[in-house]
Symmetry: C2
Subunit: 209 residues, 2 copies
């Protein structure tokens, strides 16, 4: 990796650590630079302002998400396992990066206004991944013929919605308790079962869950 | 109705009008009193502070919700129609009372902290209503045997989640545009179809939708 890219990566990694622990709003450019002993002029050479770092962070986190998700799914055979793996993977992801959103709504606004395109693309990318899985399940005769892309979109949007709804009920504390994450996952798994039923999914003995 | 109850109702109605147009935070006790020409001492006799009005408003709105919902559902025969009616009814309700939540998060906090019990009861009450409908569909042989209460909870939580998720994508504007409401309803209807499929629902010719 060229020196210039390496420095850029280091800054992004430093920002990810700060953002996910203290939130976007509570992190300053100085702190990001100090953590990795980068001079301020050097930092501003790579990122002229905090918004540009935020965009780079969201891009990196999103790419890492898909890289890891695809790795996990490649190792999973059974559709039911895959559905449950996605839920577990999302839980861990939301937990890890929870602070990037929550600290306050102005941080949310910066992310929303500047990362809208990345976030939309990420949603479509995940829909495509799940649709691919459903299509191969159709080919294998595991489920009935469906519009895979559409079902994937409904499924993933519903999972996201359940996550928001259950977490929103606990906004008294800045960080949801363990029982709320569990409640969310439990509800999402129940929804997965409903979807599998509607797909006329034929359970195979290879399923681990 | 006794005079004392009538005055109390008038105050609540006035608060509902103000809250749903300008939001909880932007409404003062004075404005509520002025709208219906009630003296301030009289207002404070019924409601010692704004929080107590908010609680009464949420209680009243919730009761009206169920009264009207039950009326609509009593006139609907077919399960698919009922599922779609619930979605339409919820859309109109959320649209009408959107400002009660949105103005700012401190208003949300007051509602959450003081109306938690009412809101939880409302959720359970709606689950019970839908479960009753599912149970009667089981009896009529329209759908397969299921844990009706649990399926109702998953269904309603998922609808609520989809509503939150789709509306949250448009928080640039204080009030979602018509296309966002439509997108929400479209997605919710698709989810309803998935649920109906999973319930092995047998479509009847009486269905209007």
């Amino acid at each position: 990796m060229a020196e210039i890219d390496k420095k850029r990566e280091q800054i992004i990694e430093s920002a990810i650590r700060r953002f996910s622990h203290f939130g976007v709003q509570k992190t300053t450019m100085n702190e990001i630079a100090d953590d990795i002993a980068v001079s301020q002029p050097s930092l501003y050479y790579y990122f002229p302002d905090k918004t540009s770092i935020i965009v780079a962070v969201v891009e990196k986190v999103s790419n890492d998400y898909f890289e890891e998700l695809e790795k996990i799914l490649a190792e999973t055979e059974c559709l039911k396992d895959i559905f449950f793996q996605i839920i577990e993977f999302r839980r861990n992801f939301v937990k890890k990066f929870f602070m990037m959103h929550l600290t306050d709504s102005s941080a949310d606004a910066i992310i929303r206004d500047n990362c809208d395109e990345i976030l939309q693309e990420s949603r479509l990318r995940e829909i495509k991944i799940v649709a691919g899985i459903l299509n191969s399940a159709i080919e294998k005769g595991e489920i009935a013929e469906i519009d895979a892309e559409n079902v994937s979109a409904i499924y993933l949007d519903s999972l996201t919605g359940l996550c928001m709804w259950i977490i929103s009920k606990n906004q008294k504390n800045i960080f949801p308790e363990s029982k709320h994450w569990d409640a969310m996952v439990a509800r999402q798994r129940e929804l997965a079962e409903i979807f599998l039923k509607s797909l006329k999914y034929k359970d195979r003995s290879t399923c681990k869950v």
